[in-house]
Symmetry: C2
Subunit: 527 residues, 2 copies
């Protein structure tokens, strides 16, 4: 059973009840307050991507990245990683951490990574395909704060964490569960990964991200995904079941906890997204071409390492290149430069035949016009770059420092519209409709004609948050701004939310594991 | 002298004064409250357009449009138009108004229209090129109401009209002055075109639109443009100096006042944009392909007529196709369907080698998140369709029923970002920056490196409305939403505004003409 559908059904009956009792529905058109959403689907890009780089420029950026790897090198702050790369013939400098790798080695290794792969979560109906023309979206990950119109802005906590996880499950436009939608800082860091992953696995049935924060955490999380799926160790490793993301510490450095997690994931055939943190002007060159070259060098270095750990293990080329405000150093998001970086990253990822990850970002502090246009610009950059995994798809505010309940709803409206947009436009003879135009004639109206009657239910995208009523009706309904309407919607969603079904034995095994690991003290917190 | 530059210079000195006197500037970064804007330029599209239609589908839509013209016909509610088309060999039905035209005739006629042309206003430095890869933007036109955060929503008046005209002059991202930014309904309809055009010509020095609302109005407006430019009649006709826009009354009808105006403009070599009002599901088929086919038929019929009036007179293929909410009949804007219609219209316009017009639209009632994403979506549809004339670029709200002061400012921020975005991304060896990456090394920072120092001033787009400060600073500065910041900016702009220079004799001749025509009673209002 698809929980989202059952939620919709429940909503419909609630709406009917309210109407019968004379209560007012969510707006003047008699719709309920929450979401008549698009069905679960895996949208595909059908248009050509936007490609700002000429073929020669792709080669030049590639050459720049290769020169960085060959002549400068990347620091790998993990002895095992350095040993592996040394054995593969890379040059390790006297500092024992800087590794230089030749372009032949890099290209040979990354060619081993699949250009497309499936990830199968505990509910196989939620399997996603990463790569090719596939568009997938996950919710915001890792903000330390959350906000909503009722509470204002607060430090992250467990309640807010579960609220966002429930909304992530609810929306069909979200395909995977990314990092913590907000850090539950009231859960001790030693056991946060246990409670966090447990809730992701129980409150959702979608593909889950696991943090690469050292040995114990990643091993615990892999075990939890295995248990939740009722899988043997062999079954777990047979397919990607989850994924992680690692960020290089730009410029030119991969840190221990992330390398450790990613290598352990690769050993067991689980995917890693490698996303350099290349803010142009700060941790990367002030030119977008330079930032993308550096991003490519850092990313490919990580992916090459993972292919040494296990040839053919899945990996994703991650783009997080944006720019900073040169007056203040503040990161900027959803800028023209950000869009171009997404599109250029798409060209590089396709050049290397790797899936692409990018993000729905903004710098705004409130879910207002700026937040909407920065996210819309981000999303168009991401979509026209043909990003396979769209991180931070819903809820991101303040350059990632805050998860907003209202922004989450606003983003899902935008995401639904984009997922509708990417579908091919039908252009059959019936669609061109000469006979309908003849039927209606000059000065007529198309509402009543058979051509319209046959199609009007499904003709156009139907929004759940946009208010298309006229000014007078909008005013009569309280003159609510977008974020105020979104506020009502997330409350309805949380009220309607139901846990997706999970096998009783699997859940018991999962809970038993969490209890045992908590009793053991969880993971060390001193790295 | 460019008035915008002088405005900026004045702002800088104001800011210095405020700082010296200890006053607080507009935000925490010490910037003034108004606009450090991009310089005047004519932006070019450099990317490939997004093209949802396969070549065969373009042919099929063309064939559909031609069948509408050949088999069904278009009503021309103007005897002169019908006479012209009859003489050219078209079939006039017994009703005396429905004209059927063969595809050979249509294609032969529209081939006479230029694919690109210049319009030269009274200040030749403001000349615009319409067609090719040129992107041009005008402000919102024709709403009956206006709104701002101080007054709320009101019926249009002369004061608001001039405010918007001044803002249109101020912003370099706006290239032409479209229809009345809000109807000055306190000016009698018989003389509104006189006061309206007089103010457009004096308060701005950009290319101006004239309404095609019957004989007297269009003749008056042409004469005023001629006088303001100090032109002889021959000089006026030698080049396009202004433009008009006509809307067919969809489905399949061109009305008298607009046909009359457009034919008079064509006689004198002045351009007409033909924009069918094809709302899919209401005045056009419920399928986007059908609506675009009908739009094409209605548009080409008008352009073919104008080529009969004067071969080679400039014309623009106008797209206004959007969809309606099928539950309520309300028009919807900035939808996925709207974007696709823009892109498909771009393909049709290029097929016919005609410039394209489309619009920055939204259905929202307040300048909030919905307004921003609907406009951002519209603009991406318009930009990826490679629209030459972007109508309603700044200020549109409520499906065109309201001009918003704050939305105007928000739109100009988005427009500036898009005009920055469309520039080519530099990818020289210096841009790829391997040496800068080497200089900085692992764990370093790019702020201080020479590569950054040489470029940081102009490296990235600088917004004037977006607030990139962190949450704490944003809160300290009053926690202003985007539209609240925009409210401060338009007030500064109106305070700073100065009239552009105009030749004294030309201004006197213009004022004399207006006075004379007012004395004569203006234009009849009974059509």
């Amino acid at each position: 059973m698809d929980i989202s559908d059952s939620g919709t059904a429940k909503l419909a009956s609630e709406k009917t009840k309210r109407r019968r009792s004379g209560g007012r529905a969510g707006n003047e058109r008699g719709r309920g307050p929450s979401v008549a959403q698009l069905p679960w689907s895996l949208p595909q890009y059908n248009d050509a991507p936007i490609e700002p780089l000429a073929a020669e420029s792709i080669e030049n950026i590639h050459d720049g990245a290769m020169r960085v790897l060959e002549e400068i090198g990347i620091e790998f702050l993990h002895p095992k990683a350095v040993d592996i790369l040394r054995r593969e013939g890379c040059t390790v400098l006297d500092d024992g951490v800087t590794v230089r790798m030749g372009r032949d080695f890099v290209m040979e290794k990354i060619a081993l990574a699949p250009s497309s792969f499936d990830i199968v979560p505990r509910n196989p109906d939620r399997t996603i395909t990463v790569g090719g023309r596939q568009m997938l979206v996950g919710q915001v990950g890792s903000p330390p704060n959350y906000s909503n119109l009722d509470e204002g802005r607060k430090s992250g906590n467990y309640k807010a964490f579960t609220d966002f996880i429930k909304m992530t499950q609810y929306f069909n436009c979200l395909h995977f569960v990314s990092g913590y939608p907000v850090e539950p800082v009231d859960v001790h860091a030693s056991i946060r990964h246990l409670d966090g992953m447990r809730d992701k696995l129980v409150l959702t049935d979608k593909v889950c991200h696991a943090y690469s924060l050292g040995t114990e955490r990643i091993e615990d999380q892999m075990e939890m995904v295995r248990l939740a799926g009722g899988l043997s160790h062999e079954e777990f490793e047979a397919k990607p079941r989850m994924f992680t993301n690692i960020n290089s510490t730009s410029p030119l450095k991969h840190d221990w906890p992330m390398l450790d997690g990613a290598m352990r994931m690769a050993e067991r055939n689980q995917p890693t997204v490698v996303s350099p943190f290349t803010l142009s002007g700060a941790m990367a060159p002030v030119t977008i071409a330079g930032a993308v070259a550096q991003q490519t060098a850092e990313g490919l270095a990580g992916i090459a390492l993972l292919q040494c750990v296990r040839a053919g293990s899945p990996a994703v080329y991650g783009s997080f290149t944006s720019n900073v405000d040169m007056r203040t150093g503040s990161p900027a998001f959803g800028t023209p430069e950000y869009m171009r970086a997404c599109q250029m990253s798409g060209q590089m990822a396709r050049y290397y035949k790797l899936p692409l990850r990018a993000s729905n970002t903004c710098a705004a502090n409130y879910p207002d016009g700026q937040a909407a246009w920065e996210s819309a610009f981000s999303l168009w950059g991401v979509v026209t770059g043909q990003t396979n995994m769209i991180y931070h798809g819903a809820g991101w505010l303040e350059g990632g420092l805050c998860a907003s309940y209202e922004k989450f709803i606003m983003d899902c409206e935008m995401l639904q519209q984009m997922q509708h947009y990417v579908k091919p436009v039908p252009v059959t003879e019936d669609d061109i409709a000469v006979e309908a135009i003849r039927d209606v004639g000059a000065g007529g109206h198309f509402f009543g004609t058979q051509h319209t009657q046959d199609r009007y239910e499904e003709a156009f995208y139907k929004p759940f948050l946009s208010d298309w009523s006229n000014y007078e009706n909008w005013e009569d309904n309280g003159a609510l701004r977008t974020e105020q309407r979104a506020n009502g919607i997330w409350k309805s969603i949380l009220a309607e939310y139901e846990e997706p079904p999970i096998d009783g034995d699997a859940k018991a095994a999962l809970d038993e594991f969490v209890a045992k690991r908590k009793q053991e003290g969880g993971a060390p917190t001193d790295f």
